[in-house]
Symmetry: C2
Subunit: 465 residues, 2 copies
């Protein structure tokens, strides 16, 4: 869709939605009833509270994640789900060590820092080097190879808030690729301004990736107040600003991780299943409340409401609590391999915090138009809109199976305005969750599942060109 | 004043203020001009920015505070103040070491913790013990001596926001006295919920005090999310919750600290001086922006505006950038000894952040009634009110000289609503300062100084009964 016909397309949707909602009053009543129940349901919060309190941080490939899988199996079994099991896999594992940074000259003081996933090590004695500032990744990429020999590259550009989280793509590049570029230029290490929107003195971790052609260098994120302080130091100083950096992460080889799977059995085995996902692992710094304990809470609470309602879903609903997402989507990739021959109708994931769903996005075949309109209409009372120019892309853990099977997708987009205040920081804790917004998520998921799981239409997308 | 006649007293003040403000139009014009200038003045922010960037954390008695004193001398000299000097003193000094806490059983995970000033050490190997929860300090105080042998006492009660910061007194008790009580009861260590109003994962430090009758035990504050998590663990667990605590602070003996003093010379040496104070030191975790870089910025910017205005102050204005306040008000105490024979007219201090002044409080003699009314009237346009039932008490650094000389006091009370989100945490950094509110502070101080420094009235209070 071009930008020019955007308003009329929106109007078209509004009108068809309106027509639909008057012509299907009875069905809508069912949806209203289960929505109302979901808006009172506290299970999503209870799951998040249990996981963050009884397990806490649970990085993929670590012993904590193993405990979390057992916790998940117990919880899903207790809740009455069927076929609860762990599907194990092995994955290369990187673990954090010591991490400190201090300015040695000209303005000695400590800075709050954390290593990025896959960072190299400085060794226990650390390294001391001049900091060279770049305003953007592009500016770093523009300098000649070898020009940063013996230096610490520092890129600091400010990520701004956005409701749809789209700024993460653009501003996240500094973390995803920056250290690889700095290594190519010969830098001894790289520090970045955290990819975040807060002013807490807690840095944002997350994976960085090195190509096979460079040796990983130490790579770390400064908290945003510290990155701004370092910039001021560089601006004020007539001499080079020198940093001592100690980062001692380690690669501990192949470790065990796994996906936890559970099901609500459908009444019609001939129909393909609906896959709903979250990820069980978290980064090691916080307790993984918004990323992604809440996601597991939301999908599970919604599935349980369906399981216990009068709606007897025709399709099986499969829950995937994926392992090791943060550190490389190992669970999602494993699922796509193991279940490559399992027929799926469509896939959904909740992995963008715990704030309210504000928009629904689809990638459905033309034949599902009526179902799509029913979903849009049913979500309206929850304050959820629809922008027809956006095609759903799915969450990280379902993207591999989506890619493998060309699956239909529905995305219930959560409000990401404050998500990057907390993302991948120690501050990702239970207290950040608003139970009321969390329940709205459950209501939205319950709504969609109640419609999809009983739909007999063919969700097969046309083959990709 | 009793509560019953409160409203009529307020009304009386309002009326006399109104009468005054019409009868002294010309003088008020002068005040308006300097207020307008102050509202455009950026010096307070520049001082705070310089101190937090070029020095950063500057704990009393440490080498960083020594660098801060030299920075202060250079800055005050460059700004044109007279008699800039350091008055050195010695003080016992406690410094932070390693600090980690983790739950060992039944829900293993790390907790964010920081030692309280004067905490004892666990030794490098740490200690492992059961955590015993108390909802209040009173509940802790109620258990028999010896009943906590080998246990870690944990008090967690929630401080709430207040504009005047008065909740710090009540809720701060757990930090001020809690560990001393726990030591009396035989506890191996004590952990508290941070005395703060935020939900950042950064604990609040601050001094605790042990009497001579107990050996200091390890004492530390959990961040508020961690304290809430620990409470949940205790509620959920059927077995004892065990913590491993490592705190290795040290007492490093007598170290050098000092007060930095500067003056704006008055034209009439027969009049006693006005003392205005802030403190130069900060806790070691943050960069000391709101506590109390901003205070030094505010008083200095105001004094400089007076120095450079048409107002030729009759009284000398003396600036005291006190040393080592956080760790025991050593600078304020030293000042009171060294300057016990110096005549002071009155004392003021700025040490409650950088948010706007919302209320003025006085402790002045009856003879100063007209001056007081003029101040109230002049501060009105800045949005500053007055509650006549409150008697000014002065800031920590001026209280010793106030006590020694029974000095008159004016307090420009800052809005403390968000102060305890940041107080004594790593998050006390420049980015938390709102330059506009900071300038309002400067305008309020300039207003009061312009009136007081030219007043020839006798500010001597009647002797205390």
């Amino acid at each position: 869709m071009t930008k020019a016909n955007f308003p009329s397309a929106l109007l078209g949707t509004a009108i068809s939605t309106l027509i639909f909602s008057t012509s299907a009053f009875a069905e809508t009543q069912d949806v209203r009833e289960i929505q109302a129940k979901a808006l009172e349901d506290n299970l999503a919060f209870e799951i998040t509270e249990g996981l963050t309190t009884e397990i806490g941080p649970r990085q993929g490939g670590t012993e904590a994640e193993t405990r979390a899988r057992q916790w998940a199996v117990n919880k899903l079994t207790d809740l009455g789900f069927g076929k609860v099991r762990i599907e194990q896999f092995m994955m290369p594992t990187w673990v954090r060590g010591e991490e400190t940074a201090e300015i040695i000259a000209p303005f000695p003081q400590k800075l709050a820092i954390t290593a990025l996933g896959n960072s190299g090590s400085t060794g226990a004695n650390g390294l001391e080097a001049e900091v060279v500032f770049f305003p953007t990744v592009a500016a770093l990429a523009a300098v000649p190879d070898g020009s940063l020999n013996g230096k610490i590259a520092f890129v600091s550009h400010q990520m701004r808030r956005s409701q749809d989280g789209s700024s993460y793509g653009a501003f996240g590049a500094v973390r995803f690729f920056g250290p690889n570029i700095a290594a190519q230029k010969g830098a001894s290490a790289m520090v970045i301004r955290s990819v975040g929107t807060d002013y807490r003195r807690n840095p944002h971790t997350g994976n960085t990736n090195f190509s096979d052609r460079v040796a990983p260098i130490p790579a770390a994120a400064l908290s945003i107040p510290d990155a701004e302080n370092l910039r001021r130091m560089i601006e004020r100083s007539e001499e080079p600003v020198k940093m001592k950096l100690v980062l001692t992460p380690q690669n501990i080889g192949q470790q065990e991780s796994g996906n936890v799977i559970a099901e609500v059995a459908g009444t019609d085995p001939s129909l393909s299943m609906v896959l709903i996902a979250c990820h069980l692992d978290s980064w090691d710094l916080g307790t993984g409340a918004i990323d992604d304990g809440a996601g597991c809470g939301i999908i599970t609470a919604a599935a349980k409401l369906i399981m216990e309602s009068e709606i007897k879903p025709k399709r099986t609903i499969r829950l995937l609590w994926a392992g090791a997402e943060e550190v490389g989507v190992w669970g999602g990739k494993d699922y796509a391999v193991v279940h490559k021959d399992t027929p799926h109708a469509l896939a959904m994931e909740s992995d963008f915090g715990a704030d309210r769903v504000w928009r629904v996005e689809f990638n459905l075949p033309e034949s599902a138009k009526e179902t799509q309109d029913k979903i849009i209409s049913s979500l309206g009372p929850l304050g959820i809109g629809h922008n027809p120019s956006i095609v759903a892309g799915g969450g990280a853990d379902v993207r591999p199976i989506i890619g493998a099977q060309n699956l239909a997708i529905i995305d219930l987009q959560q409000d990401g305005t404050r998500y990057f205040d907390l993302h991948h920081t120690p501050d990702d804790t239970l207290d950040k969750i608003d139970p009321k917004q969390l329940r709205q998520n459950v209501a939205a998921w319950t709504t969609v599942l109640s419609i999809i799981a009983n739909s007999e239409i063919d969700f097969t997308l046309p083959p990709k060109e």
